[in-house]
Amino acid sequence: MGSKGVSRRQFLKYAGATAALLGLSEAMVPEIARALEELASGKPPVIWIQGQNCTGCSVSFLNTNYPMVTELVLDKLSVRYQPNVMAAAGDVATKVIEDTMKDLSGKYVLVVEGPIPTKENGRYCTFGLEDKMVPFLNGRQRREDKPIEAWMNELVPGAAAIIANGNCASFGGIPAANESVTGTTRVIDYVAKIDKSKPVINIGGCPSHPDWFIGTILDYLINKKVPDLDQHNRPKAFFGQLIHENCERRASFDAGLFLEDWNDNDPDLKLCMFKMGCKGPVTYADCPIRRWNSKVNWCVGANAPCHGCAEPAFYKNLSPLYEPLPDIHFAGISALPDTLGWIAAGATAAGIGGHYLYKQLGKKEEGGEE
């Protein structure tokens, strides 16, 4: 028996699921199983806090299949603080954060969903309470609100790794459009104010795909290092290729067969969504292959355009969402105009999902750690 009632057989099962998630060969399963077994003997603590969020990335997390939520939350990770699932509330809940910071400094993974507002002394996002009393109605006193800024200041120094989960935490997303009012700050920028050397992994997507988020955590835990990241600090395993390159409707694009009327959408034709505003040609994510919600569908699969939600430019700089991208060359995407230069700069072609991880595990083997 492995630790905590999890059998060797179960580890192999998880390892198989993890290999599938990361796009790895079956040959790696024993190696991953060994790494997972190691982890389970001291499950990595996770503290998941929420800034200016909508909880969409937490709900998306619940849609995971490989591994299942219960396996993740109970068997693989020690999810100490996650406000939507945890039993505790109030001081009982925040004491868990305080204890983890004290007892497991340097060991916990900090997950942040939603960005950090910094104006008005952090008043635009608070949770938990300070001990300090402040005046309340009719001469009463009550404990002061604790801004998420204060939590970040305490949590960042002891975090082993920091994951900005979803587009809002990673790039500002929707709340950043109101930055002038609330001082919305990306997680990576806030962390840099505390410790420039602390790595932040950005998981794009509005919401993040459960595989992107969970795959990144597992990857980090197995390899004990931050995965290969692109220029926007996104794991290349999941954000290495353009939607457009792998789109099941690419042939229609090349042939000039475009959807122009939603009543004319015989599903067998698989018309290209470009003229309806598809942002697939400028969006790096593996949605066409990975698909969503247990692979049932994805945006283009529903006869709708990709809105580019995994990109730093989402939402503000990809609007209008239903207008075609400007001046794009229909022959292909190699000659992007200057107006799309912000994207072109990120066009470093990475290997297919998981390739880099395969290499790293391979190195470990060569290094004689067997």
């Binding site: 009632g5 909880t55 969409g56 939507n84 109030g90 929707i174 006869n303 239903y322």
Partner: protein
């Protein structure tokens, strides 16, 4: 001597909620509800292409994006003068219905159940069911390793369900429910692409034609969900409602007797007939359902972090000027009022307006309808949610039958230069309205009034408490360090704070007047 205790975060809800309660002689004497996070979603829509509104507003909330996207689509349809094809109406009903199922299952099992089930009682399970034995092994492993997060710690209480077989069965249903709510999302994505943040509804219709295969794929999942709702969800609600220790919660947690429903799920192309009916109930007089009049809605900011000059406006003319240092302010939520009165919205309000036989029978059986004024507390709120979940799931099968695989799904309309539109719908958490004003083919103004703004609202200018605040008065708190009954009461409303706080900054809120529709 009254003692003020503060609960923050209120967990297992959506968003950032703080609750302050004053305890005297072991019961709640007074309560203050504070929403503590602000983004400002609507302001970024000004000047944008009107078609973007649905994609942006569905991101107000990641738990109930469907209802925002749907309300927004109806608001755009209204502004564009769309004649919505039946297929589009039915697919919008089916997808919204799928998210009701998802949301209601998630709420009872994953947000609320840990308030009632003692997970440590699983350790005493001695039966032979292999599934339950496996659950026992899992929990035992966590406890032995001294790493029982996130199931423990919790507020301690002596009235958790501690019968080992029942507790283990409920934990098993918690795990099954994770799969069921996921399946409801999958069902939704057959037409809408993905979830959360879906793409299948557009101004004038939907994007995905019904086909023999996608209707069959939807129906097979629906059949499985309907079976599970009937066999498990409804039965578990009845079981918990029958626990003698919880008998006080049949009436404790009553929000004051005012209920509001806009009506939801259009049954005809004009939306004149709704599957969930609209109406207003006041002072607990549930036999007297009054007509809903949109003009009776105003928003008070007397205790909200907004300038007093914006007091008492109808949301169509709404203004929002943040003032975080306001002396009496204690929340980012405004206080919506109907004819000056606070209103509970959500499943209980809808079921009391509609009074389906299943609800009336249960309420009679539980002796809730014997002597007026009737009171409906924590448990009826959960029961109404489950009954509604079953009713919607059953109705969805009929909507599937009505889809026409040769019919249109879109009424293409050009953007008007200047036009108003509104969409009033029902979401899992209650009545939702979106209002749009198109100016020069762009969004001139956009407003949303959201369920939790009604339920979790603060006091208004008359000092009248919001529904959740009122529902807490008299709730027993024998131990101030473990105010379990306070969070039980709050969670019965299924609050969503991200939805509730979503206002426009004054600089960008230029349009003052909406047409009265």
């Amino acid at each position: 001597m009254a003692e003020l205790i503060s609960i923050d975060p209120v967990t297992r809800i959506e968003g950032h909620l703080r609750m302050d309660v004053e305890i005297e002689d072991g019961v709640v004497k007074d309560a203050w509800s504070s929403g503590t996070m602000f983004r400002g979603i609507e302001m970024l829509l000004k000047g944008k292409h009107p078609w973007d509104a649905q994609q942006v507003t569905e991101r107000i909330c990641g738990v109930c994006p469907l209802v925002h996207g749907t309300a927004s689509s109806y608001a755009l349809d209204d502004a564009l003068g769309v004649n919505l094809p039946d297929n589009a109406r039915l697919i919008r009903n089916l997808t919204l219905g799928a998210n009701f199922i998802q949301s209601h299952i998630l709420h009872f099992y994953h947000l609320a159940a840990l308030d009632y089930v003692d997970v440590t009682a699983v350790l005493n399970y001695s039966g032979n069911d292999p599934v339950l034995q496996e659950i026992k092994g899992k929990i035992a492993g966590l406890v032995a390793a001294n790493d029982p997060y996130p199931l423990l710690p919790r507020y301690e209480s002596n009235d958790y369900v501690s019968d080992p077989t029942l507790a283990t069965t409920l934990v098993n249903h918690y795990i099954q429910a994770l799969e069921m709510r996921k399946k409801a999302h999958e069902m939704l994505t057959i037409f809408y692409g993905r979830m959360p943040s879906f793409v299948g509804t557009i101004p004038g219709g939907v994007t995905q034609q019904p086909t023999i295969s996608n209707v069959a794929a939807f129906r097979s999942r629906l059949a499985e969900l309907r079976d599970w709702i009937d066999r498990i969800y409804i039965q578990d609600i009845l079981t918990v409602a029958g626990v003698s220790a919880y008998a006080p919660f049949l009436t404790a947690g009553d929000s004051g007797g005012n209920y509001l429903a806009y009506g939801g799920f259009d049954q005809d192309s004009k939306g004149n007939v709704k599957f969930l009916e609209r109406g207003v109930i006041t002072n607990g007089d549930i036999m007297n359902v009054k007509d809903f009049d949109e003009d009776q809605i105003t928003e008070s900011v007397a205790y909200s972090w907004y300038e007093d000059s914006t007091e008492g406006l109808n949301p169509r003319n709404g203004k929002t000027e943040p003032e975080v240092d306001k002396t009496n302010g204690y929340t980012f939520l405004k206080a919506p009022r109907y004819n000056g009165q606070p209103m509970e919205v959500g499943p209980l309000a809808r079921m009391l307006v509609m009074k389906p036989k299943m609800l009336v029978d249960l309420a009679t059986q539980l002796n809730l309808l014997s002597t007026p004024p009737f009171q409906f507390g924590i448990l009826p709120r959960h029961a109404a949610r489950a009954i509604e979940c079953k009713m919607i799931a059953d109705e969805m099968d009929k909507w599937l039958d009505q889809l026409d695989i040769n019919g249109n799904i879109w009424d293409k309309k050009d953007l008007p230069g200047d036009s108003y539109g509104r969409g009033l719908v029902e979401g899992p958490r209650g009545a939702l309205g979106h209002w749009i004003h198109i100016v020069d083919k762009k969004i001139g103004n956009y407003q949303a009034v959201v369920p939790t703004t009604w339920n979790a609202s603060p006091r208004d200018k008359d000092g009248t408490r919001g529904p959740i605040e009122t529902s807490l008065i008299g709730i027993p708190v024998p131990d101030v360090n473990n105010p379990i009954n306070v969070v039980r009461t709050i969670r019965s409303f299924d609050p969503c704070l991200a939805c509730a706080i979503h206002v426009i900054h004054p600089e960008h809120n230029g349009v003052k007047k909406f047409r009265v529709v």
